[in-house]
Symmetry: C2
Subunit: 339 residues, 2 copies
DNA sequence: CTGAAAGCGCTTACAG
DNA sequence: CTGAAAGCGCTTACAG
């Protein structure tokens, strides 16, 4: 059974394809009421569904965008995807999700495939090693929004957390709790990724501003599967930190597991603060102090900017949108309470 | 700057469009070595990228599938999406993710839009209220795979957990721990969704088989935001359950928060088992006993079957693939240990 | 107010 | 071994 197309409908209704097309696109201006009805009837009778691929080819617009996440395993990524999907749904736009799996090579493939599929724009968590590719997209005014990490040389619109503020909130709170020996644990890749970089920078800056000693051993950047080993070593030093900031949700879990296995009591022995909200924050013993990213707002903003670029054309290239984190103080960081 | 198309390449290379097309599709059989090289050079010189939309129109194949999840907020959904995306990536297929947000109306819209975009097939967590739509897709041999829930009248291939086994594992373990007063808490929607239905059924069956008393109050099916209130009431009864099975990850968190707020000790006062693995299982105090679904395998299988249907045509319609759950016994269910 | 024609960028029998 | 032509299913100036 051949699928019915616009010609079939035209024949059934006894009008031309043009007229059917006008009807489909709701350009009723000059359409006779009766023509309209015959077309409508024919469409229903034949159960006709327009082929958007054909339309896309002609209109050079697919109403589909691509999202390339660096690593889909992070909760942050899936939340951003949710927010983007949610906003796009309202605008009748589809989202193709691709996972770069932290591989610049895969990332590049995804960019090419998605462009070949003519997506109208791209939201990307850049891995950091395809700078020229992104720069050339930017140069040709292709709609493109970066998220979580800056684009090439900071070019292009990007949606970022105010990382300095996040670290500031965490350290300030720990200081208020009289915790001065503070460590930070982040997942690290070879690349100088924005969040990790900015967070460690901010850590050093704010410690310095508060005249606190920066022990280089207290800064851990390592792959997830090595994190526990490294962190345990730190915990078992003669002078371990009294407080620790987890750079993201996955690091937090590693830290919590370490503390459990090493019988380190939170917050008495170690005050813990996680960046990124986690589902179990209020269920945990102790409840977990977190510095939440407004993931939902960030994803929505990325989608909004992209759709605007698609509809109105790409204009300036240098907007960085910083989102303000929000600390929720719970038990895990309350060292004074532990006394 | 107009994008270069196949005609530009043909002109540059001094051959016909057909020949360029042959080259692009790697049909080198009858192609002269020199022709091949000229075409190659022309493509590189012009930085030509083929337009897959045009190809799709002609070939009636988009190399794109759609996934409609009932509710993207469940960890289970995002893990399934990850597995599907992962498998499809190996097969050069793109995935469009749509969230039905538990709304049959949205679900139906998604089905229509995705079909209009000519996706080659669909993987769906059916909400349960679009039976006729699915039946007609099945009737026209459209590639379609259900996941987590059965299709209309059980028709169509579906990927499910062996829910009875999951409940069996949980209850048997609790019985081994001498816990006999067992409750079950699930999120409920109006619809008779497969997992909830099968799990509550299995609960009743297995309790009966073990000659355990089934207290109807111990079966809680309610929306997430009402769960805590309902569960707390149960906890404060004169005869509360001694053990509880959380129907999924979100329910588990609600239960854990309740226990914390009501100072109910796990496992001494209440043994807890969660269905679905959770990120914090090994970090929690106590560690959480879980009955894990093999989400990754399930997602992969769904993608595999769908791609097979796409490539080889749709054959039989009645395969239900049951995946075996796996219990990991940790502290939260060890009532005897609490003694 | 409606229709004929051209075209979007490819692929694919078919002819030579 | 290569090319001319038709066609995938739409949309869109333009003519009338």
């Amino acid at each position: 059974m051949k699928k019915t197309n616009i010609a079939d409908v035209a024949e059934e209704a006894g009008v031309s394809k043009s007229t059917v097309s006008q009807y489909l696109n709701k350009r009723y201006h000059f359409m006779g009421e009766d023509t309209k009805n015959t077309v409508k009837a024919a469409i229903e009778k034949l159960n006709y569904k327009p082929n958007y691929i054909a339309r896309s080819l002609k209109q050079k617009k697919t109403s589909t965008i691509g999202v390339i996440v660096a690593n889909i395993l992070h909760n942050f990524s899936t939340q951003i995807i949710q927010a983007i999907e949610n906003y796009c749904q309202l605008h009748q736009i589809h989202v193709i999700v691709s996972n770069a799996d932290d591989s610049p090579h895969k990332e590049k493939n995804h960019i090419e495939m998605l462009r070949a599929k003519q997506v109208d724009g791209l939201i990307v968590f850049p891995t950091g090693e395809n700078q020229e590719v992104y720069q050339s997209l930017l140069d040709e005014k292709y709609p493109l929004v970066f998220i979580d990490r800056l684009g090439p040389n900071g070019n292009g619109p990007s949606i970022l957390l105010d990382n300095e503020k996040a670290i500031h909130l965490a350290i300030q709170h720990l200081i208020d709790e009289q915790v001065n020996d503070i460590g930070i644990v982040t997942t690290s890749l070879k690349q100088q990724l924005t969040p990790r970089f900015e967070r460690v920078e901010a850590y050093q800056k704010i410690m310095r501003e508060n005249n606190l000693y920066i022990n280089e051993d207290f800064i851990i950047s390592t792959e997830l599967h090595k994190m526990k080993g490294t962190f345990k070593k730190l915990l078992n030093k003669s002078n371990p930190p009294r407080g620790v900031i987890a750079g993201n949700d996955l690091s937090l879990i590693q830290i919590l597991e370490c503390c459990r296995e090493e019988h380190v009591k939170i917050p008495q022995d170690l005050a813990v603060i996680g960046i990124d909200e986690v589902s179990f924050a209020k269920a945990f013993h102790p409840t977990i102090t977190t510095v939440a990213q407004p993931t939902f707002d960030m994803g929505k903003k990325a989608a909004k900017i992209l759709i605007q670029e698609i509809n109105e054309g790409v204009k300036k290239h240098d907007n960085v949108y910083r989102f303000t984190p929000d600390i929720t103080i719970r038990e895990s960081s309350k060292w004074l309470l532990g006394k």
